[in-house]
């Protein structure tokens, strides 16, 4: 019951936040010099002022700013994100077309970084000060400090070019008559490099965070009580220390999850992954404002959704939250 109340209140707030972001994005984009009509006209070689004006009327750009904003918000409320004149398709279709690829990539990166990060961090903490701990912390520091694009290029160079183990580009390359299993395997092989590259930074963050948090929790009073009960060190670490230590990691995982949709631009570009990030990049280059705005709105909505999800997860892992909020 309380969870339902919580969910409703968070959803209400979330909708307000998304609407505020729509207004802000809309204003910002219209502050940028050059409108889509003049860009299109310029590209098609037409310098005729009448033609540009005709385009403006067609796009609704001749209307007063507030009217345009109002119409746009009204559209968003009805889940209509406008029309991309450049691509000659509704924006929502374009975005929904690319969304699964991005969710697959970032979701895989998320799961990868979270599991590997927490497991490695816990492992390092259990061997604190010993060689295994040193190796794990050093490697994670290297990944923490290396720029993403460089890591991506190196991964392609080593695993695709030199070793030829994994494909470097695209989402799939099997033809139309493949079975479902073959397709899945094909996509999975394409997924490995971009997902790992994208996830490595956060893996390193989780390793360090889990390790530090576990060492801190292990010093707390209740661990002594557990020892006094006669529990084995293994049970103490797994069942009690790790569970308490994972709370700050959940907070950070929420941040990462929120970034998932918008934050993969670079990886998608390097690995030619047909996702939202590349769509946004193309829209920006082509001044396809409606499309750009659409991507922003969907990303913002995703951030809000993942934040709510994080809070829900938090309420599940930490019983104290319910009362204190």
């Amino acid at each position: 019951m309380q969870t339902l109340q919580f969910l409703l209140s968070r959803l209400a707030k979330g909708i307000l936040v998304v609407l505020a972001i729509v207004v802000l994005d809309f204003v910002l984009i219209h502050l940028a010099p050059g409108d889509p009509a003049s860009v299109m006209a310029g590209e098609s070689g037409a310098t005729d002022e009448a033609f540009v004006q005709q385009l403006r009327v067609k796009f609704g750009l001749d209307q007063p700013f507030t009217t345009q904003l109002g119409l746009y918000i009204w559209g968003v409320v009805r889940l209509d994100l406008g029309f991309s004149h450049r691509q000659q398709m509704p924006v929502l279709d374009l975005v929904l077309d690319r969304l699964p690829a991005t969710l697959l990539l970032t979701g895989a990166a998320f799961v990868f970084s979270l599991t590997v990060g927490v497991v490695m961090g816990a492992w390092a903490a259990a061997h604190k000060g010993r060689p295994l701990d040193r190796i794990i912390t050093t490697v994670s520091l290297v990944f923490y400090a290396t720029p993403l694009f460089w890591m991506a290029l190196m991964a392609v160079l080593i695993f695709s070019v030199w070793l030829d183990w994994l494909p470097a580009f695209g989402l799939y390359d099997v033809g139309g008559n493949a079975t479902l299993g073959e397709r899945a395997l094909d996509v999975a092989r394409h997924l490995v490099l971009p997902a790992v590259t994208l996830g490595l930074f956060f893996t390193a963050v989780y390793v360090r965070m889990t390790r530090a948090s576990m060492i801190e929790v292990a010093r707390q009073d209740f661990v002594k009580t557990l020892r006094a009960k006669g529990l084995s060190e293994r049970v103490i670490l797994r069942r009690h220390v790790l569970r308490n230590a994972v709370l700050p990691v959940v907070t950070l995982a929420g941040v990462q999850a929120g970034q998932m949709v918008g934050g993969a631009v670079m990886t998608e570009t390097v690995f030619a992954w047909p996702g939202i990030g590349r769509l946004m990049y193309e829209a920006l280059i082509q001044r396809d404002y409606n499309l750009l705005l659409g991507v922003f709105v969907v990303s913002a909505a995703m951030v809000v959704v993942f934040n709510i999800l994080t809070d829900l997860v938090y309420r599940m892992v930490d019983p104290r939250i319910e009362v204190s909020r």
């Binding site: 109340q5 006094a228 049970v235 009690h240 019983p319």
Partner: protein, 552 residues
């Protein structure tokens, strides 16, 4: 209460124990030449101040010494088996099964993310006993036995849903789950309110009588010792200085250190020769109808919660007078102090300083009078900035008030000398000082602005008795010399009775009783005051502080 000694083997026999500290510590051994026996059904109190090695000795018996330390010499035989020679796995089988342990801090002694019932059931699981359903049934029975209200509900509760006293009951339930022969209680009531302390002591006593458990009770409080111990071991600086039956040690201490410790206990009687107390000067502080209410912000669907931290509190304070504010945790006594110096903003009421109203002033106006009312805080470790030199800490107030830095630092030096610290203290950092010394620094800091009123919020609660006595003397001395008014907030009624002229007893934000200290403690009118006094450890019926006076 121990059975007359049939010559049987002691449950635990510690002989010549020495615990080695890590290299580079200030001494080689944490404890040395420690020997004592505990028999079935007996309570042995190990008494000493912080750093005496009393907890270390208990941890050694439990096999829970901190990393870097180790039992270097001696034996600790539990029913003939030397615990110090057991390997980790054998020791684990003993912990929880043969020896139970309870700790000082009930608030942090339980895993915050696990239900109470599961935590108790875990004791059986750890030793591979019973099926899960039986474990649950036993957990329920144990919760009932330790007197948790509504055990069927509590078994599903998380620790944060229980009070400190209830959590300590849960820890006791876990410690006694497998009917151990020995229970080690490491300051189990120190963090509790006085009435809760009395209940927990009673519970331990009852369970001990029922199960015949031997109890090793570690404490710094001689009042508690008088209440529960059969025999006493007094420790100082890692050595046993005195051992004997409780009545003998308390009544006729042989060792100089024990005598000194017992003499340092607040007597609950005003120190003799304190001069005419009635000659109090003009009134410096008038408080009327002070109120602070907390409302938790309600959300879209949430009702707001209301807590009355301070409720319609009124009193006068004269120059040279000490007002004690006593009450249990959550009674609002600290909120009252913070409201007075406006660290929290009261909702309503009037605070008149030398006849001038201070409520409703701007921040700038507040700065002018705030220096006349200064606070000394409870935690001598947390209340000083660890990265700032002591001289600067003390001088900061005057500098902020416009005094040239050189003059302020010179004054800081003088003040540190006034509170009994060496002149070199100015250039040192807080971590170089002991708890008592830090509290002196805190007092010097409060005095730096030449205040007329000092508000001491549990200023001696974290200190050992002997240090506590010194700091109390210092405060009393400064009060007379500088003609200060003192508001002394404490949960310790003995301390309040010793140094206060007037006492206000608070409960749930309200002052339930106020009057001269002798009257409030000698002839309490309110039922709550009577309950508080009855709960003071080590007292006999009829006289609030008589038992120890007689014992001494």
């Amino acid at each position: 209460m121990s059975e007359p000694t049939v010559p049987h083997e002691p449950v635990l026999s510690v002989a010549n124990l020495a615990i080695e500290l890590p290299a580079g510590a200030d001494r080689l051994y944490a404890v040395e030449h420690v020997s004592f026996d505990i028999h079935r059904g007996e309570t042995l109190a190990i008494v000493g101040e912080s750093g005496s090695g009393k907890s270390m000795s208990a941890n050694a018996v439990m096999g829970l010494l901190p990393p870097g330390t180790r039992a270097a010499q001696g034996t600790a035989k539990l029913d003939g088996i030397d615990l110090l020679r057991l390997d980790a796995e054998a020791m684990r089988a003993i912990r929880g099964r043969r020896i139970g342990m309870i700790f000082q801090e009930p608030m942090t002694a339980l895993d915050p993310l696990m239900r109470i019932g599961d935590q108790i059931a875990e004791v059986f699981e750890a030793h591979g006993l019973l099926a899960p359903a039986e474990r649950r049934a036993r957990a329920l029975a144990l919760l009932t036995e330790v007197g948790i209200p509504e055990p069927e509900r509590a078994i599903h509760a998380y620790p944060f849903q229980l009070s400190g006293g209830q959590r300590q009951r849960v820890v006791i339930a876990m410690a006694l789950a497998l009917d151990p022969v020995l229970l080690i209680a490491d300051e189990p009531t120190t963090a509790l309110d006085v009435t809760t302390q009395a209940q927990i002591l009673k519970l331990i006593r009852e369970l001990q009588d029922k199960h015949g458990t031997a109890v090793m009770f570690i404490t710094h409080d001689f009042g508690v010792v008088a209440d529960i111990a059969d025999r006493v071991v007094v420790m100082s600086k890692g050595r046993v200085v005195e051992t004997g039956a409780a009545a003998d040690v308390l009544g006729a201490p042989q060792d100089a250190y024990t005598r000194q410790l017992i003499a340092a206990i607040p007597t609950g009687r005003p120190a003799a020769g304190d001069g005419p107390r009635k000659a109090a000067g003009e009134t410096v502080l008038e408080v009327r109808g002070l109120t602070k209410t907390y409302r938790s912000a309600g959300g879209f669907f949430r009702p707001a919660r209301v807590v009355h931290a301070v409720r319609d509190v009124s009193f006068d304070l004269a120059r040279g007078e000490t007002l004690g504010v006593v009450g249990e945790s959550g009674s609002g006594k600290s909120s009252l102090g913070r409201c007075l110096v406006r660290l929290i903003e009261p909702d309503a009421g009037s605070i008149r300083l030398n006849g001038q109203e201070t409520m409703g002033q701007s921040v700038g106006e507040m700065r002018i009078w705030r220096r006349r009312m200064q606070m000394v805080f409870q935690d001598p470790y947390g209340s000083l900035n660890p990265r700032t030199r002591v001289g600067r800490i003390v001088a900061e107030g005057p500098i902020a008030a416009g005094m040239p830095i050189g003059a302020a630092l010179k004054k800081a030096g003088d003040l540190l000398a006034l509170v009994g610290l060496d002149a070199s203290a100015v250039d040192r950092f807080p971590h170089e000082f002991s708890g008592g010394q830090r509290q002196r620094i805190g007092i010097a800091r409060a005095l730096a602005l030449d205040p007329e009123i000092i508000i001491a919020d549990e200023a001696v609660s974290a200190l050992d008795v002997s240090i506590q006595a010194q700091v109390l003397r210092l405060l009393a001395d400064l009060k007379t010399r500088l003609d200060l008014a003192l508001i002394f907030i404490t949960h310790d009624l003995r301390v309040a009775a010793t140094i206060c002229d007037k006492v206000a007893v608070m409960r749930k934000g309200e002052v339930v009783e106020m009057g001269p200290a002798a009257q409030v403690f000698g002839d309490p009118q309110h039922e709550y005051t009577r309950r508080l006094i009855a709960a003071i450890p080590g007292r006999a019926e009829g006289d609030a502080f008589g038992a120890r006076a007689a014992a001494i």
